[in-house]
Subunit: 436 residues, 2 copies
Amino acid sequence: MGVCQLIEKSIVNIGIIGLGVVGRGVLKILSDNKELILKRTGKEVVIKKAAARTEKTLLSTGLPKEMLTINPLEVVEDKDIDIVIELIGGYNPAKEFIEKALKNKKSVVTANKEVIAKSGYELLKIANENNVYLRFEASAVGGVPIIASLYRSLTSYDINRLVGIINGTTNYILTDMYESGTSFENSLKEAQRKGYAESDPTKDIEGYDAAYKVTILASLAFGARIDINDVYREGITNIDPIDIKYADELNYRIKLLAIASRKEDNIDVRVHPMLVPKSHLLANVEGVYNAVFTEGEGYGKLLFSGPGAGSLPAASMVVSDLVDIARLHGRPYIEDLSYNHFKNLSILNIENTINPYYLRIRVNDRPGVLALIANSFAVHKVSFASVIQKEAFQDEVDVVFLTHETEEYRIRGALSSIEKYPEIKGISAFIRVLKE
Amino acid sequence: MGVCQLIEKSIVNIGIIGLGVVGRGVLKILSDNKELILKRTGKEVVIKKAAARTEKTLLSTGLPKEMLTINPLEVVEDKDIDIVIELIGGYNPAKEFIEKALKNKKSVVTANKEVIAKSGYELLKIANENNVYLRFEASAVGGVPIIASLYRSLTSYDINRLVGIINGTTNYILTDMYESGTSFENSLKEAQRKGYAESDPTKDIEGYDAAYKVTILASLAFGARIDINDVYREGITNIDPIDIKYADELNYRIKLLAIASRKEDNIDVRVHPMLVPKSHLLANVEGVYNAVFTEGEGYGKLLFSGPGAGSLPAASMVVSDLVDIARLHGRPYIEDLSYNHFKNLSILNIENTINPYYLRIRVNDRPGVLALIANSFAVHKVSFASVIQKEAFQDEVDVVFLTHETEEYRIRGALSSIEKYPEIKGISAFIRVLKE
């Protein structure tokens, strides 16, 4: 054990960059729970400087004027600041601020999924080289402490599979579409009205946000370096209320899922809508709630669930990272070894993934059309679990197919040959199905 | 940051006491995942000595004879051992071994819920005084890393409430009774046949195991010193299949729940069967699975779920504690501050708790009897949510009541005055109900 005297600092100075919803939540927690944090860290955590884009935001914090700045570099370069909290979001210039802070020997806490998904490995390396800590609990599943669990508790085996709902906005929209039967556009407006979707909702509804998050989770779970560009991503803008209704009749819910699984050195990481059997716990995760299942030899199936959005849930995870670093501050650095053995693993192309499929095909309501489809599917070695003829529209009709598990290239092959027949009016829905 | 040179030991020697189901799981993980553990700790974790009660158990491990002993003190007093893993269970002599190991400057990992529930505070103090670590992740919810989450992630606010299913044996039995409609005795035998219940199942079926676990969870969640003797405890031996059936008809499941809640300096900690609304996630936690909800200002509702029994799930949590300590081994000690601010909080008497109730009362099938009961309940200020007359048995009939929320002393008062009437044949069931 240690033979040297350690001089403990009893104060830890922090700087915050970004005072949006989460940033203001952090300020609130730090002021409400001073005592609790002192007890847990043995240190007084003091806000030294706060940066935001506008004077108005800065003044709304009620912090003394001399602590406020619109220049984030003043935080990152302040010699007295020990820990920087980065909460501006987006890749640029956030990544630069984090990197500068680490190189200036400041530990960093961030909720920035885009930066961590794209440059987490590089930044962890810089942190280690500079004997400081980089923590990012709030970057993956909002208020759910799953990163700490992956990184510090699930360490005796590898994880083989993750599946989850990790975007609150899209889960709110899909829940609302299910409950009210309304269109995607209407539910999006409702989500925006309630503050669950941003005015430019692209990152959420197109699945980028979930793709960043699953990249982070899969990296930690598999000990892998993952190129975000290889992660297949599909959003929910094309989900038609009619498919939510048909899925319901078949005992499924439609959810935007993130999936990551591993077979030896091949990994399958993707984000897209799926039909989830109603008996599956994920089918019952509603509104802005998030949930992640992890599976690994030895662990069995674990579920972590909680609020996927909101100021205080995310802010509480930021503060928990801060508490952890503050506790270690002033002591000899504990090197983070895990990232050292991160491997480059190759991601399975979506065409080679294996799923059951839900298909809705609009056809001419005429004898022989089903045989036509059935033949094409047989040629491509796709077999059906069920076929249901739905409502007719004049002389056209929707037919819904549930297939057995098959490689995606087979189903794509079958669909592109079917599309050529004049009797086929269109592939109206193509949604993967989660196997129970 | 640290200015002194640290000499790292590259080997960590461990000793294991107890080679039952979990102990053998730990041996398996340590031998299967050597490489992974080396990468995560930077140390080689070497088993130096293993103790078990019988020669036969020892030899079945396949470890070299010179490493084996039937005397646990040889492990605890071995100068070369850095970390002791205690897995014998029960209070005596396990507590003595843990204490001796800590005083001999060895860190300890244990899965011993009874020792931690009764003496955790005292042992954490001894560990801190001796600059060693005491970890006990596997002591509360089997393979679910909830202790690390409470202790290290949920640190920015206090937790106000925990509710969960934390005993795998009883959940298996109640699931089996629900699915097969059979008696408690039959389901217990089935559980024993499958290895989910011990030959002497008392600790599980009478709720002792869950009471130990909720004491540990509540202590950490509330930062409290809790006297296990004040924790109200009721098992599942009196659960009648007929009540499982009636509950089902009312849209409830019967589960053995652990509850801990806090209002300022008063806490309510208890273990007993409850009717759980089927729409509640806990109603759908089946078989040996466990699940815990936590609630706290800022966090919202979090759910942690996973296998509550089994060799590898529990062993993987033991090894994760071991990995964590091994990583810190040879570095200056990081004092655990949290326990320093544990308060003595008083536990609410069960008579003063507030619940809705499910009651089944056997009465003479005669006019006026219901009025008799209704009057007594009105006198004690208990009001009904529903009253259902069930099957008749000759001239007797079962009447099922669901009450609104009320203090328990009121309902007990009402029942004891009702019991005196000759028309009342017996209070056949008295089960608390979980409010949604």
